[in-house]
């Protein structure tokens, strides 16, 4: 699903994933695909890994809490941006949700090894910039960015 376009002379790669409620496996598959795609584009292993972790956690949040969502990974020479947009209950208190250990995940999710309340904290640690906008009863938009300014981030 990689769509490569030329935009003002600079290469732009877009990877998109549709995430549905309770489709747990799609989260891991999206993460694996993201890592492979970024490695193929020649990005540093650390960037590919952090991007994949962000995709995994963001997609799991959609799978666990929302009705449906869309995940888009955009790679330009300056940065990798990951946007997860969902239709769902939203996050009433983002600051509280960011705290490690805070979780509202149901029992079945915890049995699978998720729902430890570390997802948003993990995303924050893997990204250079994180913005979350949420409207209760409508949905959430999460945007994480990894900057690629260092030489060697892209070969």
């Amino acid at each position: 699903m990689t769509d490569s376009r030329v935009n003002s002379g600079a290469p732009r790669h877009v990877i998109e994933f549709l995430i549905r409620e309770k489709d747990f496996l799609s989260a891991g598959e999206s993460a694996s695909k993201t890592k492979k795609a970024l490695q193929q584009l020649g990005l540093k292993a650390e960037v590919a890994k952090n991007s994949a972790i962000i995709v995994y956690e963001a997609a799991m949040n959609v799978v666990i809490h929302a009705i449906s969502g869309k995940l888009r990974v955009v790679i330009v020479p300056e940065e990798v941006s990951i946007v997860a947009e969902d239709v769902g209950p939203g996050i009433p208190d983002i600051e509280l949700a960011m705290q490690e250990g805070y979780s509202t995940a149901p029992h079945e999710v915890r049995e699978m090894g998720f729902g430890a309340g570390m997802g948003l904290a993990n995303i924050e640690h893997c990204s250079d910039e994180l913005n979350i906008k949420s409207e209760p009863g409508v949905g959430t938009v999460l945007e994480a960015r990894i900057r690629l300014k260092q030489k060697g981030d892209v070969s």
Partner: protein, 119 residues
């Protein structure tokens, strides 16, 4: 320390990745929480877990784990093993429970993974 050494120490079965047993194990990390695995993600880490769902394989792939050891006699199903084979993640299974498996590996010099990505 290689995966072959790990197999011998834990008297483990090799479920897949027989050809990759010469891979070097740098550190070990044991847990049953996916997010914690992702938080500790570092390449060359051996993942020790009793979770046997397909997420463990995706996680091992994302974190560049050197391999996965399932403890307590747990084994993933065939499709999960196939997925691991495609992702080139060697899988080992031991009847030892998690405490003893980790204790034996520590005794043989395997150090714990550090929490570098979260601090």
């Amino acid at each position: 320390m290689t995966l072959r050494d790990i197999r011998d120490i834990l008297d483990a079965d090799v479920l897949c990745g027989e050809q990759s047993l010469d891979r070097e194990v740098k550190t070990g990390f044991a847990c049953d929480l996916i997010s914690e695995m992702l938080a500790f993600a570092s390449s060359g880490t051996l993942l020790i877990t009793s979770l046997k769902n397909p997420h463990v394989i995706h996680t091992a792939e994302v974190m560049d784990a050197v391999g996965v050891v399932f403890v307590g006699g747990k084994k993933p199903n065939l499709s999960t093993m196939k997925q691991a084979g495609n992702s080139r993640i060697p899988l080992l299974a031991t009847d030892l429970l998690i405490f003893k498996a980790c204790g034996l590996l520590f005794q043989h010099g395997v150090q714990g993974a550090k929490r570098d990505s979260l601090q």
